[in-house]
Every structure is written in structure tokens, then in C-alpha cells.
Symmetry: D2
Subunit: 420 residues, 4 copies
């Protein structure tokens, strides 16, 4: 027997723009690790993890300890862009555990605490450095909802929400857009080099190595290298938006490491704060640091509690390669199950890298049904892709093997029901 859920205030007072609460109508009360609990006490295994903002799980106890201690001792909460002890520790730790071991010489900007802030700063900087306005983005891209980020995103409905024409951007085909029928950058390289093509010469290219919102589209390492080479040889800045795929989602800390490239600009947000609290950084090569003081700012660019949990997360998870190895191992486990499902049922495919994995249905309606059945069985998983045709998995990287298998078995069952 379930208690009827009281959601009156949400339907009465909250805007129609609310979204996830429609698919998952429970009222959630608490959370821990891979699990959410609703107010009636029911538990849900979370394979969405804050859309990638909770790589270390909900209320990770290591980070929680650091956070509560910091709050308890009245550490700075709101610091604008002032020097703080917490920011210094974050910067030092980030340099020591992330940048230095990877040979990355980046300056760090705190552009405001969300992914779209980081992207807006990246686009501004690319334009300022080059003196050009145009940006090349890719089919299937998603980079955020403020006007600059939205202009480089692909989803037609979200673009229409801008209410003004979104300009200064030209989409190019993402990797595999034509399933290998055409050479990489066949079109992009040609129009770049043809002075009569009508392409506005771009300041930069913005790319996700794996497109999450776009439907778990995975760029191959050689494609990324080709893109980096193309940008370098034409004096175009390469921006990797690692907001969702960074912080270990694909295995290594940065998702582009697998390709051996060094982007000119990198954005991070979502899991960088570790504990699901707003934080973002924009990284760029030192020679690109042409900002004037305060030329970009934001009230919450110094969210110090997030610096504290970010530091704790780096120390705990990135001092060695254990997390990376377990992520790759668990990723292979998901791939295996998904491959089985793909083999067992017509019209089902799969793709992914590390712990972002998609189960792809030829019939988009089936993906939605699978997620609906999964929710009924206590599993949160979201669809993505232009037609919601992909069940996208983003479990916490800290999910246990048992939890993973449990969640995958729910999905397998749901798939069987839907595809039988």
C-alpha cells in the first residue's frame, strides 16, 4: 500500500518547465551512495546521478565529513573571487593531482558555478583571442541554456526557446554521423579551406568527446586527434566541453586523455565539486589568458564549500588510478550486458565509453517505455538523443558491482518486456 504522494505545491506553484519530476513523480527525501529514498521510504537505484553531477555518489561520506567540518568551523561560504584558504587548497590540489601528472599547463578560471557559465566564458575567450565571432559546433551537441551556450547546442526545441535567432555558429557532422561513409572532416576541412565556401571563419570549435544529451554519441580517439590537428593547423581554438564527460566519467579524469590531445580550452562542472554542489572551471593555455580583471564575473564563482568537497574528492579518488580502473571495468560490465541485449532483441544497439553507456532503440517509444518500467522497479534511468531513442546510463562511478548488476537486471527485464 502506497501513501498518495502530495505534489500539490509543485503542480500549483512551480512552472510548467519542470521536467524530470514528470517521469519520476516521487518526492525524494534523502540519498546515499547510489540510492535515493522518497518520503514514503521507498528506495530508488540512481543510474542518472544528477545528470553526471554525482560521479562519487550521493552524499559521499568522505566529502560529507569534509563539508560539515568546514561549515562547522565557519569556513568561508561565499567568497566571490577573493583569495580563500579553501580556494588555495583546491587550486594546489588540482594542479598537483590533475594538471601536473598529465603534463597540462592550464590557467584556471572560476566563471560562475554552472556548466553553462564555463561554456560562456570559453566562447568569450575564444572570440576575444581570435577577434572572430563564429564558432563551429557539432550535430547532437549540448552545451547549456544561456544564450551563448544555447547557440552551440543542437536540440531544435531548446534552440527555439531562445526567442531570438541563434547565430554565429555552424554545425558540422560529429564523428560517425555518416557511419563512416565519408572521411573524417570531409566537409569541415573543405569549407574551411575554400575561400568561396561562405563559412564564416571560426574563432573556435566546441566539442564533447561523448555527447550525453545527444544520445551517447562517442567520438573515436583518432577523430578527436584529427579535429585537434585540423584546429591547430588552421589557427582555430579547440574547446573540449568536459562538463558531463570529465571528472572520470569515461575512465580517465579528462575524457580527451584517451586521444592524447591537449585542447586549448576545457570546461568542467557537474562532478568537479564532488558533492553535487554548483561549481565550474574553465581551463585554458596560459597564452590565451587575455582576460582583463573582472571582464567576466559572477556572484557565485567562489562557492567555497564546493571547493572543499572538490578538494576532498580529488584527494580521495585521484591520488591513484584505482577509480579509473574500476570505472573502466564497470563500463565493460555494462557494455557486456548491453551487447547481450542488443544481440537478443531486434532493433536494439548499444554504444558508450567508460561509465556512460547507451542502449539504443530503433523505435524511440521503446526507450521511453523501458525507462518507465525501470522506474516502476525502482531504477532511475533517462532517455537521451534527438528522439529520446537512447536509454542513457550514468551511474555513480562508486556504484558497487552488486548495485550495478541489480540495475542492469532491471533494465534487461524491462527491455525484454518491451521488445518481446
Amino acid at each position: 500500500m502506497t501513501t498518495a504522494v502530495d505534489t500539490t505545491v509543485f503542480t500549483d506553484l512551480e512552472s510548467e518547465v519542470r521536467s524530470y519530476s514528470r517521469s519520476w513523480p516521487a518526492v525524494f527525501a534523502s540519498a546515499s551512495g547510489s540510492w535515493l529514498r522518497d518520503e514514503s521510504g521507498r528506495d530508488y537505484l540512481d543510474f542518472f546521478a544528477g545528470a553526471g553531477a554525482l560521479n562519487y555518489g550521493h552524499n559521499n561520506p568522505v566529502l560529507k565529513r569534509a563539508l560539515i567540518d568546514y561549515l562547522a568551523m565557519d569556513g568561508i561560504t561565499h567568497g566571490l573571487d577573493m583569495h580563500t584558504v579553501a580556494k588555495r587548497r583546491f587550486l594546489e590540489t588540482f594542479r598537483q593531482l590533475v594538471l601536473a601528472p598529465r603534463g597540462l599547463d592550464y590557467k584556471v578560471q572560476f566563471p560562475g558555478p554552472t556548466g553553462t557559465n564555463a561554456v560562456e566564458a570559453a566562447l568569450k575567450l575564444a572570440r576575444k583571442v581570435t577577434g572572430r565571432e563564429s564558432i563551429v559546433n557539432f550535430t547532437g551537441a549540448f552545451h547549456g541554456m544561456t544564450l551563448g551556450s544555447l547557440s552551440v547546442s543542437g536540440n531544435a526545441t531548446k534552440r527555439a526557446g531562445a526567442g531570438v535567432p541563434l547565430v554565429h555558429t555552424t554545425p558540422m557532422p560529429f564523428d560517425n554521423y555518416f557511419d563512416g561513409e565519408t572521411p573524417d572532416f570531409h566537409w569541415f576541412e573543405r569549407v574551411l579551406d575554400d575561400a568561396g565556401s561562405g563559412l564564416n571563419r571560426p574563432a573556435g570549435v566546441i566539442v564533447e568527446t561523448v555527447q550525453g544529451e545527444g544520445g551517447v554519441n562517442v567520438a573515436r580517439a583518432e577523430w578527436l586527434r584529427g579535429l585537434a590537428d585540423l584546429c591547430a593547423s588552421r589557427d582555430i581554438l579547440l574547446i573540449v566541453d568536459d562538463v558531463q564527460m570529465g571528472c572520470g566519467r569515461t575512465g580517465p579524469f579528462f575524457s580527451f586523455e584517451v586521444a592524447g590531445i591537449t585542447p586549448d580550452i576545457v570546461t568542467l562542472s557537474k562532478s568537479i565539486g564532488g558533492y553535487g554542489m554548483p561549481m565550474a572551471v574553465t581551463l585554458f593555455k596560459p597564452e590565451l589568458d587575455v582576460w582583463s580583471p573582472g571582464e567576466h564575473n559572477g556572484t557565485f564563482r567562489g562557492n567555497n564549500p564546493a571547493f572543499v568537497t572538490a578538494t576532498a574528492a580529488l584527494e580521495h579518488y585521484w591520488s591513484d588510478d584505482a577509480l579509473q580502473r574500476s570505472t573502466l571495468r564497470k563500463g565493460r560490465r555494462i557494455e557486456e550486458i548491453f551487447a547481450n541485449l542488443s544481440d537478443s532483441f531486434d532493433g536494439v544497439g548499444c554504444r558508450g565509453r567508460g561509465m556512460v553507456q547507451g542502449l539504443v532503440f530503433d523505435d524511440p517509444g521503446k526507450a521511453v517505455k523501458v525507462c518507465g518500467l525501470a522506474y516502476d522497479d525502482g531504477l532511475l534511468a533517462e532517455t537521451s538523443g534527438p528522439s529520446d531513442e537512447v536509454v542513457k546510463l550514468l551511474p555513480p562511478l562508486t556504484v558497487t558491482d552488486a548495485e550495478l548488476d541489480h540495475g542492469l537486471s532491471i533494465l534487461a527485464e524491462a527491455t525484454a518486456k518491451v521488445c518481446a
Copy 2:
């Protein structure tokens, strides 16, 4: 004897875009109420209060208790836009203590956790509702740094940072721009009604009731009423950006209450979360709620810890009118001191409302010097205005009378030194 401050990692690793840390180079470690403490143990009275994000002071103990309890019991930290107990409590409390008593029938959108997210959502909505692209903003405006918000902001340097021409907006004179020489809306009304004026008919008008960044420019109540009437009669949406001036900064919860108007759309951020944690809302009349589900989103739009502290702040400070009365009283105290300074020294004026007050110097250099001397004496106060000619005070609303007097005496002394 002071220990030399080690700021190496900031100068080495953080981008040149950092700003406040240049004027206030201390490394801050902890904070409480109206005070910041640096790592050497030195205390600073904070009359800037997170640019208005800390109306209830640093690490307010009432909110801190609620926050730590919530974290300790593993309340939801990251909730996207799912239903949560914390969000329900916030919505119910906001309705009961803020909307209902003021007769405001607004829908609430969580557009992402920062002021610029709230403004971007407001602009999108105004454009979607009206089918028009253009927005009228005002001289001296500041609304944020993402591309949409920046396009309605006035500061030429920040605008230049966009790297693309900022279009779809036309500035109109803010109240008192001509010191009463011309009737209110002389120009605006005329070009609106002249079908040959070349003004693109606006979807909406965005206005701050007091322009903080613009130099503490105060709109009179009658001007705001005139603006609301003008918008209503021409079918243009009125957006009040109350990110900095809302949450009691000018006395009442909303800064527009003094004018007796009901804007079509209102943005709140900064102090809405209470504890300096990122949170924002966009409010609008129910008939404007034409959003499709998910048409605007953002990873951190459900920052539940901020919902918790927001709720606690509302309950503690907005259940009666004590805070409002004390804000107005303290505001008058600042005005009194500032009026004295203005009387005593040539080239010094003052303006403000409630607890946002500006000391205005004919010679901009003097405002900068006053803030510099104040910092040396342990007081944080910022300049604003197009030429940094205004010392802008935004003390916590919870500042004690003694603290207020202490800070004002530092400022008075600094002013005397600079103007003597």
C-alpha cells in the same frame, strides 16, 4: 608583525580575470556575521556582503544549524528538478511568507542557481510570450555575464568581452538620468508610439529598482509606476531584476513593493538562498507560464541545501516585519552619516534606499582611494558606477548598530583624509 601572505598559486594558476582579490589581497579563512577573518587572524568588517548575496550575514547560525542538520541526515543534495521534500518546504514557505501576504500570484521557476540564469530565463520567456526579439534596458544596467544577460547590461568593457555584437536591445534613460530636466519616459514613450522611430518594438523591459553596479542609482516610486503603466498600456512585459535589491536589501522583501507595482516577471538570486549558496528563481504571472517541460533547464537548478537555508531564512526573518523595520532604520543611519560627509566635503554626494547606499565622489579617483584606506583599516567596501566614482555599501542586513557605526566611522575618516 604580519606573516607574508602566500598568494603564489593564485597569481600562478588562476586566470587574470580575478578581480576582488586584487583590491583585497588577504587570504580569507573564516567568516561569521559581518566579519571575515584572514588566515593570519586579522578581522575585516564586511560592508560588501558577497555583492548582496549575504543579507543575513556570513554563516548565519540559524541557517547553519538547518544546513548541517540537513547534510547530516543525508537530505537530498543534488535534485535536478525532481520533487524533493526540501523543495516542497521552500515552495510552501515562499508562498506563505512572501507571495500570499503581498497578494502576488506568481509561478516559480528554478532556472539554474545564479542571477544570470534567472535573467536569461526571464528574457527567453518574454520573447516566447510576445513573439518579439527586442528588449529595452536602461542606462547603467547590470544583469549578468552570459550572452543574453550581458546584452541588456550597460558597462562598455564587460559588453566588449562578449566578442560578438550585442544586439536585440536598446537602452533607455534610467530615472534621473537627466536630473529631472525632461519628463519621465519622454524619449521612451515617444519612440514607442512613433511608427517611424526605428525602434524595434520590445518584448519586454528589464529594470533594477536600484542599480547597484551602475552606481547606486535609485528609481523613484513614481517613475517605477510610470514604467509599469507604460508597459501595461503598450503590451510590453515588465521584468524587475531583483537579484541584488530583493530579499530585503531596500527594506521590504521585494524592492518594487514601495512603488505598489506588480511586475510581469521577477528575478531573484544572491540572498534568496540565505547562506551564500547558489540559488535563483524566476517568478512570473501564471498566464505567462508558456514553457514546455524542459525547454529551459540546468544541472544545478535544484540546489537542495540552498532550499533548506532559503526556507530557514524566510521563516526566521520574514515571518514578521522586524527585519524590514531594522533595515530601514539602519539605512537611515547610513544616510545620516553620508549626508554629513556630503555636507562637509565638496564634491561628495550620496544616494540610496534602505541598506544599499552610495557615497558619490565627483572625482572618481577619490572613491577608489577611500575604499583602499578602508581596507587598510579592516573594512571591505566596493566602488561602483561607470567610473568607479561611488563607494557602494551593502552591509549584511543583520549588521549590529555598533558594527555599522564602526564601519561608517572608518569610511568617514577615509573620506576626510582623501577630501581634506
Copy 3:
């Protein structure tokens, strides 16, 4: 008894965009001097003169002779931008009779044969020279219908026809927009000099000295001087669009001569060819001639028959000041009659300069009626202004005194009928 006019092919085949033919449905067959004759043999006195393209009257015999001789001897008709004898003669004559006597050191560009081509070239050049995108235009402006020119025009209906938001321009109040209530450039100068105003710093300002389409709005000489000073002191280029008001319409060859200013860029078209054939020039100070070869072009930029008639017109009419004097004299005659009408009837005013004169009706419907009655009596005169409230007279400069009086008496009678 009139033969029914056969206009079938026009209504069947020509687009709904046709306009003048709706007010003046006659089918015109021939023309001479100030007169048009329709195919039924009825004569119409033409006080519209091709919207200012026929300052020397229809089929002026002097120019006709030159033109037919040129065609007969197989002079170059179509010359792109090649050197031709006809172009050389035009350039030499233009320098000798127009530029040199006025001390004007301008380079000449043939930007394509219409006014809007000349304006587009002017805007491009101003942007290229300054590296800025924004242009300031004026309320009531009209500069043409291609996208660049339309963006600096005021009429809301025509702007809407663009189908894209018209941006990069900001309208400022034209002279007398507030009937002298505010100082000249009160708003413009202030927002230019306020770094927080939100005005995009303009590349140039484009202005008509008398706004024809806008309703015969006349800029005073001191206002034009003030504008030139403002532009010069802020490093903004001043573009005078003399397409309609140049070539003697206001008396002197250039309409800005009365103000003693030297614009940075000047556009001419309409009557520059003399005979109503398409021709245009863009003039600019030599130091602004930063064009690359072919950077702006157009198939008909070398309309050599128009060079021939242009040269003949300059030689015949601009070798002495007879035309200028007669224009001013006839202008005064119109003013006198219009002043009488204005004195005689309530709600009627007048304004103008030289031979562009407007009879202004408080009730716009009356202006339309007056033009309708005039047409019935064999006079062509058009309304202008945002509400079509102005009867605008642009008679050929070569109109005889008798013709002028005849036409004015028709107008006086019509006004009397409509206003009695």
C-alpha cells in the same frame, strides 16, 4: 467620356507590392517637363517628380539630346567599372562643377545605380574604417530597402518586411523631435559619453538633412553643425544621405551646404543621373578610401547613358547659380501659399526647405484626401510621414511659375474642401 482604363495585366500579373499605381491608377504613356500624359491623353502636373529623381523634369530636352546622340553613336551603354569616355567626362565635370567650387576633396565610388546601393556602400565603408558594427540613425529616417539600408530606416512596416531582426543600429531623436524642449543631442551625447549606457559605440551616424519619407522633417543648420561636431569629437563618421535632398532639391547642390559642414561620407542618387535613369555615387574623404579592388561591386555600377545625362545636367544647370536661386525663390512661393493655408485652416501646418515642402495635417486622413482630390484635378502629390499626415511636394526644380501656381491652386482648393 473616358475610356475605361485597361489595367488587367497589372492586377493579374504584377505583385501586390505595387503601390503608387493604386493611388494613381492611370496608365501613363509619355511625359515632358512637369507633365505626365496618360494613354487617354489626359495630362497630370507632376509635383512628385519620381520621388525626387526628376529634379530637371521629365525627358528634359537638353539631356534628351545628349542621350540620344550618345546612343545613336553607339557610345558604351554597359561598362561595369571599366574606364569609359563617358565616365571620364562625368568625373571631370563633377570635380570641376561640384566638388572643386565647394572645396570638397572627395573620392567617388560608383556603388551600383540606386540609392540603397550607395547607402550600403557607405555603411560598409564606415564599418571597415572604424572596425565597429553599430550605426546611429534618426527617428523618421528612410535610407532604402536592402537589408543594410533598411536597418537604418525608421518605418515599422517596412522594417517588419525584412523578416529578420534588424540590428546593429540605434535610433536617436532627429532635430525638433521634441519641439525644442530638450537641448540638441541631449540624449545622444550623454549615452555616447557614458561608458555604462549600454550604447554600442557607433562606427557612423547616417542622417538626411531633410527627411522626405519621414514627413518633410527639416534639420536646422545649427543642429547639423552640432551633429558634425559631435561626430568629429568622438571619432564617429558622419554620413549624409543626400539621395533625395541632394542635386539641388533644397537650393544648393548638396543639402548640407547650408550648414557649412563637410560630411565624411555622402550618398547621391535619384537626380544625379539627371534623366531619371539609375545612377548613384558614394563620396568620401580620401583618407577613408580603404576599399580593396572589387570589395564592393555591382553589374550596373557603370550605367554610362546616365553618366552622359548626368554630365549634361551638371553642365547645363550647375555652371552658375541660376538654378539654385530659382529653386530658393520657388520654394519661398510654396512656403507662402502653404503658410496661408496653415493660417486659414485649423490643424494645418507647414515645413520644408527649398523645393521640398510639406503641408502637415493634424488629422492624417485629411492629407490623404487632399492628395486624392488633387489627383482628380490632375495633380500628382504624395503623402509622407509615419501616419501619412503630410502632403509632400517635390516638383521638378524646372517647374515654371505658372505651373507651380496652377498646382498650388489645386492643392489649396483641395485643402479648402477637406478642411472646411
Copy 4:
């Protein structure tokens, strides 16, 4: 012995933007048929023909007679958009000889007398009809130099001249852009149908059937049919810009006839007036005629002398198929010679349709040299293509066989010299 050419006034007074006069420095005095004569009496065979504006040759005697007669009898010269006898005759003749025989039911707009006017009107109309802003154009396109037309043109240098970012357009690959490696519309169709592609849904597509400026790039009939089908099935308007390729250049009156398609909108200019005088029309399906009266206008949209020569040209050349047949025959003659050259010399290719033919050099410098040598031998021929790598032939359609052979032999000799 040659007289030194006096070009002082051109170099002194005319803008640096002048272009053809740099390659062909002669001062031309008269012209007849396929020949230009300079002031020293030297004759030049003209295989450029006013960039396609002189399909019937220079000063064609049939048209000249009609024109001089019209001028002599004081026919209307300048008619705005009033009904005139000359316009009626043109419309009736155009319907009878052009539209009706081809089963085309088009409305006719006179948008101003140049190609770019016609294109601007077409773009406005497509946007108004669909309510969308975006236009798809093609690599290598050229449509004109005013802001709207320039935004759909490809040449990077000309685009840069705009001085503002050119937006609202996305280039797609023209036919053969990848030499058949990819299926037609591989990329275009895919991004149109992918709701996540980021392509702004276009109002219309603008295309040349043969790109003249772009380097004589010929679209195959099946590609044009595919494009028409794609547009029709996606509710996108197809605009064929036939400014250069219409009026018989490729054989039939309209260049798209070969494909059996009916574009939604067609632009004509250049040779439509017949005699090299400015004239243009925009044609569109009746259901698209949503213009309001005067919503688009232009002073010279009623260039009546051009209506007269246009009518005479239609009557003389388009009452039967003789011209079309001779054009195709002469085109084959050029192809034959070009094919020989291509066979004889490495790095030389050829392409074209009807009487627009290109000789393509792998080494762009050689094309320039060939044209230079040809000029020395009394032949005018221009290069085109993004790198000026194509010798483009546009002889008058009325060129005699002997003239054609003479010109081709000059070119063959020049090619031999350059490629030997």
C-alpha cells in the same frame, strides 16, 4: 603607335574599389555587337559581355531602334511603380513569350533595377511567407553585395567587406563539391531531418544552376531535381537566382528548364533589360504574393526605357527557338575547343553549359596569365572561382561563328603559351 591613355581622373578621383579597369586599362568609347572600341580606335572582342548583362550584344540595333524611338517620342522614362504603357507591354510580352509557353504561373515584382535588389526581395518574401529567418546557400555562391545578398554569398573577401557578421545563413555543398564521392544532399538532408543537428530550419534555399562567379560550377539536372524535391517535401522555398544564367545564357530562357523544375521564387536581372540598362524582376508563385503594398520599393523599380528594350528583346529573340538552338550549338563549339585544350595540356580542365564555359587551371596563376595575354591580343575574358583559377567565357549569345572562333583561337594561343 599608341597614344598614351589618359586615366588620371580615374586614379585621382575614383575610389580604390574600381576593379575591371585595372586588368583592362583601356578607355572605352563605343561598342557594337561583340566588340568594344577604345578611344584610340582599338577594338576588343568582348567575351565577358557585361558579366552576362549583354546577352544580345552591345547596342543591339533592334533594341537600339526601339529605345531611341521611345526616347524620341517622350515615352515615360522614370515611372516608379506606376502603370505605364511600356510596363504593360513588357508584362504582356513576358507572359506571352516567357511564362505561358513554359507553363509558369508566376507573379512579377519589380524590386529595383539590379540583381541584388531582386535577391533581397526574394529573401524577404521567403522569410515573410515562412516566418523563419534562416536561408541555406551553397558553397561558391554569389548573389550580390547588399547586406542580405552578401550574407548568402560565399567569397570570404567580399563577405568581410560587410563589416558586420553575416548571419542567418548556412552554406551547403553545391553539386559536385565532392566530385561525386558522397550522395547528393547527404549532409543537407541529414541535418534538416535531425532535430538535434543545430541547423536553424531554413525559410528557403537560394541556388544558382551554374555558379558564374564561383568558377563555372554546373549543377546537374538531377541534382536540381533532388534539391527541388528536398525543398518541397520539407516545406522550404526554393529560390533560383537566375540573374546571370537566365535570359538564355545556358540555352533555354530560364536555366532551370533543363531540370524540369518549377522554383518557388526566381530572380532575373542583367540581360532581362536587353540593352545593358538596369532592370530586374523577382518572380514567385501566386500563393506566395503576401507583400503589402509598398512593403518593398525602390526609386528605379520602374526603369521604363529598360522595359522597352526588354520587350523588344523578348519579341525578337524569344518568339521562336532559334536563339536557344544557336546558343547550344555555339556552346558545344566552345566545349570542343576547351576539351582540346584540356587534352593537350596538363592541369587544364573545362566545364560549362550553353554559353557559359570555363577553362579551369590547376595553377590559378595560369588563368590570370591567359586572360592577360588575351587582353593584349584584343580579347576580354575574366577569371572566376575562389582562387581565380577559371577563365570564364560569357560571350554575347549573338556572337558570330567567326567571332567565336577568333576569340577561341586567341585563348588557345594564350593557353599554349602559358602551359607550354
